[in-house]
Symmetry: D2
């Protein structure tokens, strides 16, 4: 099978990473790179790592045409943009994986509270976390690719939350992200002299990935959960390490928790449950999410650590994993590159 694929939002980091990964996908034929910015530029002027690998020129998008020409369209635009043209893409016949937040919320009102007014609230998407929604994704026309922080946090907490094994009222998620999560547009926060030898917490109680995490944890638990999510920016380029501080409802020790996780993720291609705690460079450059857990001596407190490459499992890799499922091919196709360490 050959899947023709197009990317809208080709200039950004998620866009670049889609091309990087799809360039070697054995079943994909890249047919279009679209962006308003940089239109007319060869793709490798914007992503010089791709020189000689992807021979496309960035063009201004004509959504109706794209939806007809491509089997799948990846929309890697800033939040609030894709919702304007995804209906047209679907009408053309394409399947769509949207990497923005536009379709991640089951309830458009929640989206509107944290983002902007929705322009296609009637469209229903499947939340693209394959480890939780594989079957739904297989049949979907529109997949909402999860946020980077939610991917790490939800995969890290799912077994405990689903089993109601921890105090659901005191879930603290303290996440540390590399700077590529901030995107390709320069700004003061990612200016190297400011951030290169620094750490900061930001949006500590208000980050928009908080309600997304809450939605998914609530669905897992079968009741409403408000987790306490705080992100930090650290001076690495790629990777998220998410530390989850939770409290056992009754004493629990590592052996039992590990077994729980191993069973929950048995057979998963991209979640590895470790005996020790994972570090960012166990997964950087790959589509893996590594998870580990420690318990204190009293079995009261649990620390779960999960880690992903924010541009791969946290964005473009997961989008391709979703595409593979949507087209009925091997879920790991095009995503086999092992992590880089060192």
């Amino acid at each position: 099978m050959t899947i023709t694929a197009a990317v809208i939002g080709a200039s950004g980091y998620a866009g670049g990473e889609l091309f990087r990964l799809l360039a070697n996908h054995p079943d994909v034929n890249l047919v279009g790179a679209y962006d308003i910015k940089n239109a007319g530029q060869p793709l490798h002027r914007v992503h010089p790592n791709l020189r000689g690998l992807v021979d496309l020129t960035i063009a201004e998008p004509d959504y109706a045409k794209i939806g007809k020409a491509a089997d799948v369209v990846f929309t890697a635009t800033p939040h609030g943009i894709a919702m304007k043209f995804v209906p047209k893409l679907l009408e053309g016949g394409a399947k769509v994986v949207d990497l923005s937040a536009d379709y991640r919320f089951d309830d458009p009102k929640v989206f509107e509270r944290h983002y902007v007014k929705h322009e296609s609230p009637h469209l229903k998407a499947v939340y693209g976390l394959p480890e939780l929604y594989r079957d739904e994704i297989k049949g979907a026309e529109l997949v909402a690719n999860p946020g980077c922080y939610p991917t790490a946090a939800v995969l890290g907490l799912a077994p405990l939350v689903k089993g109601h094994l921890v105090d659901l009222g005191h879930i603290v998620i303290d996440a540390k992200s590399g700077t590529s999560g901030a995107g390709a547009a320069p700004g003061e926060i990612t200016h190297h002299p400011t951030c290169g030898s620094n750490v900061r917490a930001y949006a500590v109680t208000t980050h928009r990935h908080g309600p997304e995490i809450d939605q998914e944890l609530s669905k897992l638990a079968g009741r409403e959960i408000k987790a306490f999510f705080t992100p930090h920016l650290i001076p690495i380029v790629r990777g998220i390490l998410s530390t989850m501080h939770v409290f056992a409802r009754e004493p629990m020790f590592k052996e039992r928790v590990l077994k729980l996780y191993q069973e929950f993720y048995r057979g998963e291609r991209f979640v590895r449950v470790l005996e020790d705690l994972p570090q960012v460079n166990f997964v950087a450059g790959s589509n893996y999410c590594d998870v580990g857990v420690e318990c204190d001596a009293e079995g009261k407190r649990l620390v779960v650590v999960s880690t992903i490459d924010n541009l791969i499992k946290g964005a473009s890799g997961q989008a391709i994993q979703n595409m593979n499922l949507m087209f009925g091919i091997d879920e790991a196709r095009g995503l086999e590159t092992p992590p880089l360490r060192p």
Copy 2:
């Protein structure tokens, strides 16, 4: 007044930083640099930044002699070492600021549970956190200089814990430290290819600074507290950022909390309460501890962020602050260098 000062443990990072800061202290005359390692080497061979600034040669220590020759001795040795010779230093007549953990615990049994058997458990020291114990420090012969993580965490939490304003059973401390906290001895964890583009959590429920934090928070609260402390290693050289996740006992909003902090730290020379959250490079290179706080929309959850330079306020700067108090001179003497940013 001229204070004659000696440093035992001259080769380590805390030792080097003591010399760096004392080199320009207007009231201090450096009279000795001692270490078993590197004995016979000029100090600037080990700390090349100090060339031309401190003209001492590292010598093997003769404790009885040092205790007589110096008005103050800084012991910057690994844990479990100073306790062997501090009694001799005190007998000689010197005041001592110990930068190791040896005298930080009010109850030697707690020390022994987390470190090693104590060899001078009868000696009583004052815990050298000037913002909490200024008066006791002024009269002390032996000051136990606090750990780096406890300094950041306790200063960040003190106003809330003392006032019992938060749920004392659910205090989560998620700290991020630069690599200089690991000391001067190379090892796998601080090997640049391993850690330079990485983040890791370590000793997540068992770090020895945990019980030290608990001791101080318990004293502040007037009842026993077990906080949940987890440290991380991030790829910066200097600095700790500590994120404290706490829960208000009754709804509290930022304005009130800020006012509480401002009052608590009014007049303090080295604690700055910010309207926004601090970042590591607000304080790096200085003796400041910067503190900020955010509350969520419901006033239920508080996030306190504190930051220090782990080698200054977290070690050698605080030791000099203690020395200044012990000798009745201006607390900020020798510690006026402003933080470096960028």
Copy 3:
């Protein structure tokens, strides 16, 4: 075709990278991971990124057996080790790619001057720089994989030196390397607090890659060349950027030089000639060597910049490229992963 492959020196960075790259090589079957250090450990304990990808346990090497069992053996041991057992591997029938310096010098006396006494000086190897020695490599039983600095420098200079277009008596090579080039053993030079926010020059006139560069440039020029090579350590993990300062024998301008390079490297799979200057993250994570050049306004001075991932094109990737040639398969097999940027 299935090639059975073994790696001796499995614990080091070059060893780990060989497994990482070979794990997905469609024609290779990994049959052994050998090392004296860590024998008995599953490979993924030493290289946690490879968990689930390579299911081997590190074993102590039995060279005679390995030489019989494997079609190709990669020897990724420190300098002066492989020369002791490569003869046995060859006797067993295996082809060998040696990643150490042991067989890189045409004249064993030169090796002995800069390294140690040679223990198998009679063995003749092909210098494994495919862009210069492709045909010889195809027929080789033993390939000496080039050093990381020589790979970048020689590929950067080859077109100019071969054509005698620059003053061969004044070639300055100023190279900047990431820390992974120092290997997996921790030490003071790669201790993060020392090197994480630092730059240093080292071995400025004496680095052992200097004579290796000289050998190759001399062969290209047809006469003896002594280039002036100085390496630096910078705080990145992967990558070398080599800046070559050279002087035109007669005025030369960019257009002409670019054309020369494009012709020289026409058809090469892993050398990309750029119109602008390359940066490390154009190639990191890949087997590419990117090359660019600028001339000054008078056409007198040329600055050539080349960049590689030191662990891939500078070590394990090039070793696999050589293996592909030795076994007559597509030179790029297993090496298609595009560079990561950001």
Copy 4:
């Protein structure tokens, strides 16, 4: 004596660093912080490290008034700006230290070739490199503070060039700079995801510090020199390491060269000649320039390495050193902070 000082260009890094250093200068009274950007903001909103240390609000500059109110004015504006108002400052009676390039060139035509049309070409300034022009600086009303790269390169080469000991036609200067040299304005080149794990050469034959270096080396040699200068950007925040590749006119060995340097810089407060090669963190955070040299075995090739903190000796520290000289006070006043390492 109290010197009243004002800074124009208070928002930039050089401006911030001037305040940071002057905050503790015992003879200076800070009377004004001026900038068009951020006018109306308290200084510590722009430079949060200075909170509690400098109690000034940024104001729009009124040049005539400033020139009357301050004994000295530091102009830390982008190139081409100070030349518009420095005449007014001088008319008011103030002495001026200009940190931009506007007055660095003896011949305004050279300035205009590399920058813009000069608007006050008649003004003559002294080039503010105290180690070469101390006496002239003492009597100056207007000092042109040197560029960061020229400071490191000229101090590193002066002894050899003045003595005509090296081939003056083949001087290669390969410099590596931290990102703070690029200034406070964010841009793609200093965007962390782009530069945080990267190295690049830039302006390799055309950087505007090249002609400034040439001017100074030519004056030292007594004849026109064109050096070959190439800068690089590396992922550290502060610091420049400059590697100078030069060729002895007759064989020279390290001992002799070191002696030459030691004599040349005897008595200098801020140049340290090392037996080994300096590294950036030997000087970061201080006003030092450290210099070292190595010779090859034949005494033919010399590698000189010099290093500075680009914001201190390369900008604001040197400006204060110049001010001290202009006002007849101790040259090191306010500049005694030792370098930070680690």
